[in-house]
Amino acid sequence: MAQRTTEIIVGLFIIAGLAALLFLALQVSGLSPKAAGATYKLHANFNDIGGLAPRGRISMAGVTVGTIESITLDRETFQARVTMSIHKDVDNIPADSAAVIRTSGILGEQYIDISIGGDLESLKEGDTFYSTQSAMNLERMISNFASGR
């Protein structure tokens, strides 16, 4: 085979490999080329985060509006402090909204659902949710029920 044909085919092979890597990056791992400045940070303190993990989803009315950035333990209140990055275009979350931990499906991953309040003020970069609702813990619910509380 002519050298040039071989070179073209090998070039196509390498392009196919790079395209495959790009597909794995963008479509399979959901890496978005969006700039880092396109989000803003909010905080929320929970008594119990259950199985919540970083990179988890934040949703409003079922629509994903951001991801969980980090989860740390507040050493003074012994609560979990969750930092979330919310898309910049959702900048009108009412200040009295609540962050609720929910589970998708019966075995699905846990995510934070923002239930909307009615305040005219909205949350800004670095604000903390005033009211939160922790993860539902089945064992604790049963033991509460059994001990009659």
């Binding site: 085919i9 990056a25 791992s29 990179r55």
Partner: protein
């Protein structure tokens, strides 16, 4: 009794000597990269023989492995009513494990054995020695392009394997069994991380490509130059490459994904 111990000792010495020769050989090959003007056409030719011609078997097996994962995953996950997690399962198994390992095993069988036989036959027909007589270093001219071609091709093949597998899983899961396409991709994107999963899989396939290509060219170069010697060298290439890939996979997985 003493004979047995002596035989054991001899085997041990042989293994160590062979490992030493392999490392010396590798140093010679890596150190002796030909000039780009001469080396590039040689490399392209080998990339074609080693990489492009392995594409068919890699694509077909990737497709079928993805489809089987889709079927099996659906059967198990639908017991828990969470068949939407099928995308996550298929993508994680493919990207982390199956794409690097299965592509490397196929590569060892398809391309590694061919490299060994080719180099072994060159040695048996004294083409390598006549090159040396002409003042051409066979390590540079024959071995180095083949080693580099294997090293470059396998990661590309593994990435293509993963993509075709994900697509095959979608074919079965979404088109055939009726999982929603949105939850297939959504679950996948929520659970697969680019650095942790995709890049670690890529690193695995780079390591496997290096090991497979090294074993293949070394076995060919070191073989006994008879027809029986070439056949045993070809067998050794496939066996050693497969064992090395599976063993290294465990070590790499423990380092990358085992939290310690």
């Amino acid at each position: 009794m003493m004979d047995r111990i002596a035989a054991l000792g001899r085997t041990g010495l042989d293994v160590i000597a062979s490992l030493g020769r392999a490392c010396q050989f590798l140093a010679g090959v890596v150190g002796g990269v030909p000039k780009p003007s001469v080396g590039f056409p040689l490399l392209v030719k080998q990339l074609y023989a080693v990489g492009v011609l392995s594409l068919a078997i890699v694509v077909v097996s990737g497709l079928f492995i993805g489809m089987v994962l889709g079927l099996q995953g659906y059967t198990i996950l639908s017991d828990f009513g969470s068949e939407a997690a099928i995308g996550q399962m298929i993508a994680l198994t493919l990207v982390r494990e199956l794409a690097p390992v299965v592509a490397a095993l196929l590569f060892a069988g398809r391309a590694g054995s061919a490299l060994t036989a080719e180099i072994g036959l060159m040695k048996a027909t004294e083409q390598l020695s006549s090159m040396e007589m002409m003042g051409v270093d066979p390590l540079r001219r024959v071995i180095a392009p083949r080693l580099w071609a294997g090293f470059i091709s396998l990661p590309i093949l593994a990435m293509i394997f993963a993509v075709v597998g994900v697509w095959g899983g979608m074919l079965v899961g979404v088109e055939w069994l009726g999982v929603y396409e949105g939850s297939y991709w959504g679950n996948m994107q929520a659970s697969v991380d680019f650095v942790d999963d995709v890049l670690n899989g890529l690193i695995k396939s780079v390591v496997f490509g290096f090991v497979c290509a090294w074993i293949a060219v070394y076995q060919g170069y070191d073989c006994v130059p008879t027809s029986a010697g070439i056949s045993s060298a070809t067998t050794k290439t496939v066996v050693y490459s497969s064992l090395a890939v599976l063993g290294l996979d465990f070590v790499l997985t423990a380092v990358m994904f085992g939290n310690f």
